[in-house]
């Protein structure tokens, strides 16, 4: 009888534990990371009596989590992937939106500027139109430098978000270290502390959302974490710390490092795997950098082209045109670990050849190499730097030591402070430096076809006389280098001197003269203005024209954003499906729990019935004895 009561009690205890667990499941149905728990029952070993083994009731063996390690790790992995893709799509969208309003964009500002120059070609002497040209030059410069400023602000934002994410990871790592300790202590009782383990998985996923981790489960129940590149982030109860610090290669650049046991190991984007931090770093170092470089390339090429054209003409007061735009200078930063005393200076020699990239110059074992920061390509340059590379002259003074590096911030620097620099519309150099005059007494049929200034030249404004010694020969007199004497004249073939090019038609008589004269002031000659309005047709941005270069910025950023958005929705779908698989295995189904409640309630009632039966039997026996 006592046996029956005990059996009933064990059943009662088991049913109660099951009811408790179902209640626990129901209460945690909405708790993130909660894994449904189940009571493991086992029969209590039977006792041998004469008639065989008689059962002893039921034992609660364990309360176990409905956990699947592989599914859970799949979720962790996909969490990193999705978080990295998501943040990159988000931040790239900012750049995309920044450039989205094409009706008020840089392209339209360039066209408006060109349109004003077109009006100036027609009404060259109209001061109002000249002021409009300057206003639009200002609006364009502002648009470009503002856009550069916005990109820079996005970059600052990215740094702040990386720092935040790193400190988020640091907090989680500390909590994980404590949990590791508690779990290994809990395990000492022989049972898994289920809820602590759920908590730990949640925290691991939170870390993984920021930075991809590999987990290594230890026999003592603790979990070690590594970065995708294999650096320790958590060993038992010792957490590492992520810190933002300035890079050794480029002191102005902030990089991420892992500090553990007093060791400081910088992380590079390439060995980080995925996660929010990685998405942010990729955005900062590759996507945003490419945008800044393209914008800077355009700004420098645009300013360079117009400044060059200004220098080929005369303004309303007869002065050689001053630069029309200014852009920021290229910047050079020496690596923190340089041991030589070399200094590097950059000079833009041909703005139309500038590439949309910055560079890393390094010197090793007597030879230079140059790495493009945008596409990562490295060129070996040998022991001597070439006179010009990608439109730049790199000047080195002092002595390089092997291993020295320099960060050359070229394209990404230019756009940041683009300005329109002329004070008055009078300073627009619309006129050719010289006018062509046919000598009044010419007897031949010479006619002017055209005269253009092709490059700036110290002597371009000097008066020059072209005298025809015969119908097919001429000599040039006047200040300039290497005066051509007794040259063959072919109608329609240009005569070039001091940077200008003169095309004549017709046949001269011997003694006929053409004079290149400076007529000042001459506000009405529009020769150089015409050259200005045509600049936008020419391939002055590394083979593309201005509008094409802007279009390339648009499509590059649009393409990156689109790819990032697609990656985002792809990895989100992947994460969703792995989460669904895990949730369907480990999550709580309330209807199921309701059914179980019913089942356990019945079991509980049945167990109570067993005890009641035992009690009744006991009473019967007692009444017999009475």
């Amino acid at each position: 009888m006592a046996g029956l009561i005990q059996i009933g009690q064990s059943a009662l205890r088991a049913a109660y534990t099951q009811l408790q667990t179902a209640g626990h499941n129901i209460s945690n149905a909405n708790t993130p990371g909660y894994v449904r728990q189940e009571v493991m029952l086992g029969t209590a070993a039977g006792q041998y009596r004469g008639g065989g083994y008689i059962g002893n009731g039921v034992n609660v063996l364990d309360v176990r989590r409905n956990y699947d390690r592989f599914m859970s790790e799949e979720v962790t992995r996909n969490t990193s992937l999705a978080a990295g893709d998501k943040v990159r799509a988000e931040t790239l969208s900012q750049v995309d939106e920044l450039l989205a309003d094409t009706d008020n964009g840089i392209g339209v500002a360039m066209d408006d500027f060109r349109s004003a120059i077109g009006d100036m070609v027609s009404s060259t002497a109209d001061p109002a139109i000249r002021e409009v040209v300057l206003t639009r030059a200002g609006a364009l410069s502002q648009k470009i430098s503002e856009t550069a400023g916005r990109l820079e602000a996005i970059g600052g934002d990215l740094d702040a978000r990386i720092t935040d994410a790193a400190s988020h990871v640091n907090q989680r790592l500390e909590q994980l270290a404590t949990l590791n300790q508690q779990i290994s202590e809990g395990l000492a009782n022989g049972h898994e502390p289920n809820d602590l383990m759920d908590q730990r998985d949640v925290l691991i996923n939170e870390v993984a959302a920021k930075l991809q981790v590999t987990r290594d489960d230890q026999a003592d129940g603790t979990v070690d974490l590594y970065t995708a590149g294999g650096m320790s982030l958590l060993v038992s109860n010792r957490p590492a710390r992520l810190v933002m610090q300035s890079s050794a290669l480029d002191p102005a650049r902030r990089e991420l490092a892992v500090v553990m046991d007093g060791q400081n190991l910088p992380l590079s984007e390439s060995n980080l795997g995925s996660g929010e931090i990685v998405g942010l770093l990729r955005m900062r170092d590759s996507d945003l950098h490419a945008a800044e470089a393209r914008l800077g390339q355009l700004a420098a090429a645009f300013a360079g082209a117009f400044n060059r054209q200004q220098a080929m003409g005369l303004d309303m007061d007869g002065n050689v045109g001053k630069p029309m735009f200014s852009v920021a200078d290229a910047r050079v930063r020496a690596g923190a670990g340089n041991t030589g005393n070399a200094m590097v200076q950059l000079v833009v020699q041909d703005s139309s050849k500038l590439k949309a990239t910055d560079y890393e110059l390094s010197f090793r074992d007597g030879t230079y190499s140059l790495r493009n920061t945008v596409d990562g390509q490295t060129r070996e340059l040998g022991p001597q730097l070439p006179d010009e590379i990608d439109g730049l002259k790199i000047e080195v003074t002092g002595t390089m030591a092997s291993g020295d590096t320099f960060r050359l911030q070229t394209a990404s620097a230019f756009a940041s402070s683009m300005r329109s620099t002329l004070a008055s519309g009078r300073e627009l150099a619309t006129a050719n430096p010289l006018s062509v005059s046919m000598n009044r007494d010419n007897a031949g049929s010479l006619k002017l076809v055209n005269m253009t200034q092709q490059q700036a030249n110290a002597d371009m404004g000097q008066p020059v006389t072209i005298e025809f010694t015969a119908p097919d020969r001429f000599s040039v007199t006047g200040q300039g280098t290497g005066n051509p004497v007794d040259q063959p004249y072919v109608p329609g073939q240009p005569i070039q001197f001091n940077g200008w090019s003169l095309t004549l038609n017709g046949t001269p008589a011997a003694g006929d003269k053409v004079e290149m004269r400076k007529i000042t002031p001459n506000a009405r000659d529009n020769g150089n203005a015409n050259a200005m309005v045509l600049l936008a047709d020419r391939p002055l941005v590394d083979g593309a024209n201005f509008n094409e270069a802007f279009g390339a910025l648009l499509s590059d950023m649009g393409g990156r954003t689109l790819a990032a958005k697609n990656a985002d929705s792809g990895s989100r779908a992947l994460l969703e499906s792995s989460k669904t698989a895990l949730a369907n295995r480990s999550g709580v189904n309330l209807d199921e729990e309701a059914a179980r409640l019913l089942q356990y309630r019945q079991a509980y009632q049945a167990a109570a019935k067993v005890i009641q039966t035992a009690d009744e039997m006991f009473s019967t026996i007692l009444s017999l004895a009475r």
Binding site: S93, G118, N547, E548, G551, G558, K565, G587
Partner: protein, 300 residues
Amino acid sequence: MRVSSNHYRSQAIGNISTQQAQLARLQEQASTGRKVNRASDDPLAAAEAERLRSQVARSDIEQRMMSYAKGIMAQTHDIMGSSIDALQEARDAMISTGNGILNEEDRKTLATKLEMTRRELYQLANLKDMDGNHVFGGPGTEVEPMGSEADPVYQGAAGTRATGMQVQYGLNVNGQDIFSARHGDAMKTVFQQLDDTIGALREGSAEVAGEKVREGIQAVDTTLNNLISARTVLGENQRIMEKRHDTLEAGEEHVMRRRSELVDADLAEVLSGIQSRDTALRAAMQTYSQISRLSMFDYL
């Protein structure tokens, strides 16, 4: 298969918000009328649209230049016409009395007549167009192109003033090309020749006067020929410009259409998309709320 209640709900909500996001995107297309609202909507189309827009802008610049040129050319044309008329009158006057049988009074009358014509012609030769540029000033001068009244020789440079992009539209004429011609060994302007004629009519003998009148007629004829051929060239240029204008407009229309195909939304398509998404979203919401009302706990 087990289904986690919590996950089921968040998934259903996720699906609904995805559908809402797609609806919002379509709504954006409907409200902006464009399917490419940012470069990422279609990177290649965005770049192409940008290129096409600047093509239209370029064509607009050229058209503005043309419409400017049209006004100036018309003025140049008129002033050349007036100059032709004035010269024609001088020529008629000289021809009608041109047999050398001139008495002194006739000579004086003719001189006065020629003086007036010469003054008129000189004024015409130094006229400015509505934009302040000399009609006979060539590429442009700040001074009177035909010099002072007393010394009427061309002061400007060779060539003419023109506007345009690659194609240049000549706006005016060059005074030297029109008014200067070789007489014997020396280059003379028609003004100088007329001055000579007038001087001879006033002071010279009938014989000298007759000679100078002949020279005057010759100079006037040369100038007339110059003017008429310059006016023909101008007219021809105007015609070419009209044609170019039509070509540009047609091209612009073509480019605009192409751009519109690239970036503008097909409203009918967008609206039907909105309709079908709207239906799908309604269905999702309705079934979700129906299904989530089902609970085992109601039957406990």
